[in-house]
Symmetry: C2
Subunit: 425 residues, 2 copies
Amino acid sequence: MADEKADKLQVFITNLTSNVQNIANSGFSSMTPDFAWLRRGVVEVFPQPTDVNSETLEKRLVTTNQPLRIKLGIDPTGTDIHLGHSIPVRKLRGFQDAGHIAVLIIGDFTARIGDPTGKSEVRRQLTEADVAQNAQTYLDQVRPILDFDTPGRLEVRYNSEWLSKLNLEKILELLSTMTVGQMLAKEGFADRYKKENPIFIHEFLYPLMQGFDSVAVEADVELGGTDQKFNIAVGRDLQRHFGQKPQFGMLMPILIGTDGVQKMSKSLGNYIGLSEHPGQKYQKLQGVPDNLLKEYFELLTDLPLDQLPENPRDRQTLLAYEVVKQYHGEQAAQEAKVAAQSGGMEGAVPEFSLAEVSHPTKLAYILNVTGLCKSTGEGKRKIQEGGVRLDGDRITDVDTTFASVAELQGKVLQVGKNKFVRLVP
Amino acid sequence: MADEKADKLQVFITNLTSNVQNIANSGFSSMTPDFAWLRRGVVEVFPQPTDVNSETLEKRLVTTNQPLRIKLGIDPTGTDIHLGHSIPVRKLRGFQDAGHIAVLIIGDFTARIGDPTGKSEVRRQLTEADVAQNAQTYLDQVRPILDFDTPGRLEVRYNSEWLSKLNLEKILELLSTMTVGQMLAKEGFADRYKKENPIFIHEFLYPLMQGFDSVAVEADVELGGTDQKFNIAVGRDLQRHFGQKPQFGMLMPILIGTDGVQKMSKSLGNYIGLSEHPGQKYQKLQGVPDNLLKEYFELLTDLPLDQLPENPRDRQTLLAYEVVKQYHGEQAAQEAKVAAQSGGMEGAVPEFSLAEVSHPTKLAYILNVTGLCKSTGEGKRKIQEGGVRLDGDRITDVDTTFASVAELQGKVLQVGKNKFVRLVP
């Protein structure tokens, strides 16, 4: 009897040890099933624990007495965000729901100074107004994903707040935390250096600036795509240098676009924009190739992955319905589904014929005649407010004029979030 | 007759062309013999003219309507300067005498922040008071060389004036003017990178900071040792970047020490300090090896090099006399010469026997009993004012105490510029 008890105890201890080892290896605890949301769609959490005593992200989540600060950086140079961008934002929502603080950092500093060499397309110089508008557009688009309403769950910070105050002494200190060799090992730099393509020295500052953002907001976790590992690790080093507990890095995949081949990108035409009409979203999602469906479900929905329909067509329909529901609600999802069943997306967007419109013609006038606005004056106001888009591109010049209506044919004109018209010949 | 004239004209034109070519090649004009002082002891002036139309330094000196601004940077981390340091200062005086402005830049900014990694011995952190005192000591020592009196001929600037005001935007702009490859080509960096010795990124900023000094003071010429070519060239690039006419670089040799082998350096013991007693200077200069004499005459005196005595001993005596005269005047040179002839340096410095002094003993007390000061109180004041040196090292602690008089034996105690006592047993 005593032997039996001892045997059982031995088995229990063996299992426990094995469990602890598994936890240590995975970086996640299997003993806290409530953290399933945390694990979902994550490629890597780092640092990995080096032994059972190491702190893991889950340990920090369990032991903290106060909400953790979860950082996500946003580049305000572009305005259009797509489902690929939504992935870390959705994870951020998970942290909010678990009681933590989403810290969205608008990278306005670099956007406003642009690239001093003038050579980079990415770092073109934006005005303060551009940046503010882009940031607003970004926030509008992620509003359905994030919790904007619970007090204390969201901080929006502009990094010029601290970066514009850095002086040469502090910058020398930042630069002194890394060697040239470490920086040249970064993916992107290594390649260019080997090929003898010029790397300008100021480029070394960008990872350090992103890292200093983590110091400034005292981040506990930084979210990003797998391409952000180096920069997030720099943030850890700088936090350590400035006497803070280093953040965890949580890396998520780069979403493959609807073509099933290349990463989702507006310029490749394989994207689904968050500001797109529900009918458009629905149709595009219905066409996602079967081999991508599991990843899309994992990254873009909360549905249990082991309960998906067997039939691929049903899976596509479910995906489309679920994602449209997230952004536009149950009713819009239902309407988009009906429209798609009765002949595709076009049915979901009212059409307006340009046949009677003479040219050249002003956009404000078209907003009026299509019924999207009650007058040409209201059309101008809506343009000024930044509420007008043509095929997803925001139009901000009130005097925008089209020399020929042919330029408009087939495009979707949109006012605010819910008014759409397809312009047809 | 006409042929003869044509021949002569041809010869004249050929000579003229050859002259112009020589001027272009040398970077100096042989047509303006007044510039002999400019040429003397200079290893290189850059940029070299690329064709006869290029601006040369002499052309700029001749054509300018206003005084040129001649920059020399000073590192205020050390206090003791020697004849090697005096070389560019002497050149600066040449420019002052020709009506131009000497701009001495005290590099207080880097001296005060030190090295953020704490790894460099050279860049140890100094207080504002340290820097101010070191700068004052430097100025005291070069006072016999430079023109401090003619109004408008000397500007002393501290580079914290502009460097402490640089913000991140400006620093990104500075860094963007150079590539990593260009910086790694710099002597010193290239070697360390090849050997995989760490180069910290902030080290890339130092040449750019020195270069920005040239922008801040709008330098027309920067003087330096041959090891300064890279940094002076960076200054040219930055001036061009900020819309200024780039400075000329004028490089002078690094002086070989009195051992005839290694460069003059306090730590190698082969130096002659500007604050040394005239008798000490005289004796050391009398011992300069024959193979160095021409270079010492060229770099440290204005004597015509084709009229030097034939006998090496006479040359040494002349050198010693001339240099001591520059720093201490004709009478001191004469005294040093007499003392040296009658048995060496010791004769030139009065001796004081420590036999009667009990120990431990305070420095202020010794200043009194030796007669260098009228009272122990005056001794303390002189120490506080920074006017007391022991074997050339400034003592600033009023409470300096020696446990045993043995520590003092054989050393020269000095108050101000002209009061010396050799402490003997």
